[in-house]
């Protein structure tokens, strides 16, 4: 690769990534030269400014046409823009949480936390823009490795150590599984570029290897369910969520999960869309039952196990598993609704979950406990915490006039709009939603029906701002979902997702 080629790339399309990379580097350098005792709080604001800058860069790119650089490994299209906005927004809110996190243990590692967070974000953004197995995998690993360290950031906390350890081990296994599956895809098609893989999938020769293809799909899919904490690789979530500091938990449950869905969509949909099945012409159609079983199992495991949790962070871990199950449902709907449904649900999920974690962070810090009883009588003590928390829980449960309801409604549209409709999957989703009422409303009941002692809860101004923003967004998106949907339709043309731009052909023969 000579200088001319390098200069010929339109580097401007990577502006958001460059900003994050630059700020992360800057943070690590500043952290290195800062006095050990001095507060790391300014670093949070710097990191926040970086994320805001990247967000601004994406908004400036909204009109850009599909561009592909670096030999088609990096790709800017509507899909990547739409999901990067979610990733950045989520990280921004997590940063505010982190800046207000009051734990002595984490204090000395604070600087580390901020640039690790940005690195993880960078990995996630790379995944959103990847058009190649290699970059996809590198992005995934960047996100994962940074997350492993962040989970263990409270060095003197045994639980935190345990969670980091469990996370690394199970994450490693998941990575191995994913890579194993990807190796089959590469072996069968001889390409690493997603679009070329898709092209080669139409090769009649592949018809002979239907079983191998099916195997590749199932293995990769299972491996990728790790990041979104869906069955079968969901077991890590409760321990890690419980042990990790609250901002990290929020990051894992929102940003990391979004990234997980990004890679699922990118990799699975593009590469397998043209793949032949064993008996019929389409692999994606043939594997539908398996994906449905995974989605159903995830919903059932998550919701039913959440019923028994007394620890609020564990309860949210299982709730998060359950939510992943809901978002898996659109994967079997095979309609163009797929992207907007997942995008909208993840947007709603971002607000309601980060909002809830903000309150959990405030309460666990004050009461020094993770038990649900810390919510006792919260309505009497601090109605301004109890009321937004109620909205977040209602939204997670999918009750109308909240964003969560509109998200679920959309998922139903996807599942029931087919011919034949997936009634049983919709029924499982509905039944498990009912189960979820019990544990979400239990928290509400504890807040409103029980009396509890305990002081008024003080909320730092940063957290109050996050809380207000999330609560307002949860309600506004519930009442006027068109605000988000119109933004989506107006700025993103999801057909671009499948558009195999000409550049692919011209560069293929170079390597």
């Amino acid at each position: 690769m000579d200088l001319d080629t390098l200069l010929s790339f339109k580097w401007s399309v990577m502006a958001p990534e460059f900003i994050i990379l630059g700020v992360a580097t800057l943070l690590s350098v500043i952290d290195l030269f800062m006095k050990k005792e001095s507060s790391r709080k300014p670093l949070a604001w710097l990191a926040g400014a970086g994320v805001l800058g990247a967000l601004a860069a994406i908004f400036m790119q909204l009109d850009t046409e599909v561009t592909s650089i670096l030999y088609d490994t990096y790709r800017l299209d509507s899909f990547s823009k739409a999901f990067k906005i979610l990733l950045l927004l989520g990280t921004l809110l997590v940063l505010v949480l982190a800046a207000s996190y009051k734990k002595e243990d984490i204090e000395e590692n604070r600087g580390e936390f901020y640039y690790l967070l940005l690195s993880a974000l960078l990995g996630a953004m790379m995944m959103a823009s990847s058009a190649d197995l290699i970059t996809l995998f590198v992005g995934l690993e960047l996100l994962s490795l940074a997350s492993y360290i962040m989970a263990g950031l409270e060095r003197r906390n045994k639980r935190s150590n345990e969670s980091a350890f469990k996370y690394v081990v199970s994450g490693g296994i998941a990575t191995a599984i994913t890579l194993f599956g990807m190796s089959y895809v590469f072996g069968l098609t001889g390409e690493t570029n997603l679009f070329l893989i898709a092209q080669n999938m139409q090769d009649p020769e592949l018809l002979k290897h239907g079983f191998l293809l099916m195997f590749a799909f199932l293995i990769t899919f299972a491996g990728l369910t790790f990041k979104i904490a869906a069955a079968p690789l969901h077991m890590w979530a409760p321990d890690v969520y419980e042990g990790a500091p609250v901002p990290v938990t929020a990051f894992l449950s929102v940003v990391s999960k979004t990234a997980g869905f990004v890679i699922l969509l990118r990799f699975i949909i593009i590469t397998f869309i043209a793949a032949p099945g064993i008996d019929s012409e389409s692999l994606l159609l043939e594997v539908q039952p398996y994906v449905m079983i995974l989605a159903a199992a995830t919903m059932i495991i998550g919701n039913v196990t959440a019923l028994r949790q007394r620890n609020i962070k564990r309860m949210f871990a299982y709730s998060s598993i359950a939510q992943a199950g809901y978002i898996l449902v659109p994967f079997v709907s095979n309609s163009s609704l797929l992207f907007e449904l997942i995008w909208f649900y993840l947007l709603a999920y971002l607000f309601m979950n980060i909002g809830a974690f903000t309150i959990i962070q405030v309460l666990t810090a004050q009461e020094k406990s993770n038990d649900i009883s810390i919510f006792r009588g919260l309505f009497k003590r601090s109605p301004w915490l109890a009321v937004p928390m109620t909205f977040f829980l209602l939204s997670l449960a999918g009750i109308p006039i909240t964003a969560g309801f509109v998200g679920k409604f959309g998922i139903f549209m996807g599942a029931l709009g087919l011919e034949p409709a997936h009634y049983w999957l919709a029924a499982v989703m509905m039944a498990t939603t009912l189960v979820s009422y019990v544990y979400y409303f239990n928290v509400i009941a504890v807040m409103f029906f029980r009396d509890g002692e305990g002081a008024k809860v003080a909320v730092p101004s940063g957290l109050a701002a996050v809380l207000a923003f999330c609560a307002v967004s949860t309600v506004i998106l519930g009442v006027m979902p068109d605000l988000a949907l119109d933004f989506f339709y107006g700025n993103f043309d999801i057909n671009e997702f499948f558009m195999n731009i000409e550049a692919v052909d011209t560069h293929t023969h170079d390597h």
Binding site: S336, M413, M430, L485
Partner: protein, 505 residues
């Protein structure tokens, strides 16, 4: 003005919420009076709506329609949009139910004077509940209906769970779960219909389903599909109504919830079930509804007899009334099953009449409970001597409940059975047994309380002036409908005629 009238009505309870926000939460007196004022305001607007409503006019009136949410779907046929509108309107049936809601809400707000704590959050939830109920009856599409339907669930959950009696939380949960099952089924049905037809509007859906089968086949709508949808709808609304065997939650709620909330619950919320069966069941799937008529009638008779039998054996007056509600909802089913004009009319009359009567009776039981701290039948006796007005109104309410001519209960039972005797005489004959049982259990309960040996009560003060308002207003309404039913039937006729036309007589 008329263009916005309905929306103003639906959201008018929010004004009460807004005002209450600025009142200190320990100012009991102002909060309670604002609570009543806050329900009088929607009642006033409801009366304005009534005056703007053209009596006997056909179809929808005062309609509003705005684009709200739109989903774009790319399919093989190209881009299809699935728009959801905000659309409200009233016909005779919903006008009647909106009036009932507004009236019962005011009276329940007055009855809420007995609430002992946390008045501010109580009334905020109360207003949200009223908004939900008004919206349910004004909504003209499935999505909006569902949203308002769910909006009634959440405040009810809190109102039962926080202000109820001893086992309030259990009652709140069983309310939530049972009704959650109902709304889960509803949502699946609604989304399926939406995806098949691309519309959520009641009239458009009814029109689509009335198309000839050949055209429907293109939309993948078979007869079996219609039947499946209807059965799912009936099950969902059977939870709400409630129909045996899905009624246990309702008895729990009636026993555990505070009296004012029970007035609302049995007076209006149960009626959403009947409204749903009429509008969605009979209105959208008339042919299928007709073929299920016998089963619906059978469930009606079972409800009637089962509720009456159990009411007969209860020792707690609240449980007597709860089972009496189960029994009386059977009459609604009977009228609907008949599927003719008198049957339909009887069903709707029963909806209104039972709304008033049960509100009155639960209000009086609440007043009795306040005086004695008990609702066991054995705790009372000879109330008529010490509290003549309370006992008198109670007796009158009881007589209305057992269907004494000249009161609203009579008209509804008479018409419902008249309808059923025409179509299914055997079933109707069995059903009349229920009427005898009703007379027995009502008299048993009422007489045990008002006459007999005098029992010691904590307090023997008769109805206070603030308690007399709801009691007398409800009694007057019951008598008014009993004596002059034409006022109600004129309002209802065009709407019911349209549904009957679909049912083919």
């Amino acid at each position: 003005m008329n263009a916005w009238l309905l929306s103003i009505l639906i959201f008018s309870p929010l004004l009460g919420v807004l005002v209450l926000m600025f009142v200190p939460s320990n100012d009991e007196k102002s909060i309670k009076w604002l609570g009543v004022l806050g329900t009088l305001f929607p009642l006033g607007i409801a009366l304005v709506v009534l005056s703007a409503f053209k009596m006997g006019g056909e179809g929808l009136q005062l309609t509003e329609k705005f684009s709200w949410i739109s989903y774009e779907v790319f399919q093989s046929k190209g881009q299809v949009s699935y728009p959801i509108f905000y659309e409200v309107g009233v016909n005779g049936l919903s006008m009647v139910l909106i009036l009932l809601t507004a009236v019962v809400s005011v009276l329940a707000a007055i009855a809420s004077f007995s609430i002992k704590q946390n008045w501010k959050s109580y009334f905020i939830l109360f207003f949200l509940l009223e908004m939900g109920m008004l919206g349910v009856f004004a909504a003209q599409n499935l999505f909006l209906f569902f949203i308002f339907f769910e909006v009634t669930l959440i405040p009810m959950f809190f109102l039962i769970g926080r202000w109820g009696y001893l086992e309030k939380e259990k009652a709140a949960y069983s309310f939530l779960i049972y009704n959650g099952v109902g709304s889960a089924i509803l949502l699946i049905v609604f989304v399926t219909l939406f995806m098949k037809t691309g519309t959520m509007n009641f009239e458009q859906l009814a029109y689509t389903f009335s198309l000839p089968q050949a055209e429907l086949n293109q939309l993948f709508i078979t007869k079996g599909f219609k039947m499946g949808m209807l059965i799912a709808l009936l099950v969902a609304f059977a939870v709400k109504l409630p129909v045996f065997p899905l009624h246990s939650w309702m008895v729990r709620v009636h026993v555990q919830a505070p009296p004012a909330i029970v007035m609302i619950h049995s007076g209006i919320l149960l009626k959403i079930g009947a409204y749903g069966v009429i509008v969605f069941g009979a209105g959208m799937f008339p042919d299928q509804f007709k073929s299920l008529a016998f089963i619906i009638g059978l469930f009606g008779v079972i409800n009637l007899l089962y509720g009456a039998f159990l009411a007969l054996t209860q020792t707690d007056v609240k449980r007597v009334l709860a089972y009496s509600s189960v029994s009386h909802m059977g009459i609604v089913l009977i009228g609907l099953a008949a599927g003719n004009e008198s049957g339909m009319m009887g069903a709707v009359f029963q909806v209104v009449s039972h709304g008033l009567i049960s509100a009155l009776l639960f209000f009086l039981v609440g007043a009795l409970y306040e005086r004695s701290g008990s609702s066991e039948l054995s705790a009372f006796g000879g109330v008529a001597k010490r509290m003549p007005i309370l006992a008198g109104v109670f007796l009158a309410g009881g007589l209305a409940s057992l269907g004494l001519p000249g009161m609203s209960g009579f008209i509804s039972e008479f018409m419902a059975f008249l309808g059923l005797f025409e179509k299914m005489p055997v079933l109707a004959a069995v059903g009349t047994l229920g009427l005898i049982l009703t007379a027995v259990y009502v008299l048993r309960a009422v007489l045990a309380i008002t006459f007999g040996a005098e029992k010691e009560l904590n307090e023997t003060r008769d109805l206070s002036s603030s308690e007399r308002v709801p009691a007398f207003v409800l009694l007057a309404a019951i008598l008014f409908i009993g004596i002059y039913p034409a006022w109600l039937s004129d309002m209802l006729r065009p709407t019911l005629d349209a549904i009957l036309l679909g049912l083919g007589g």
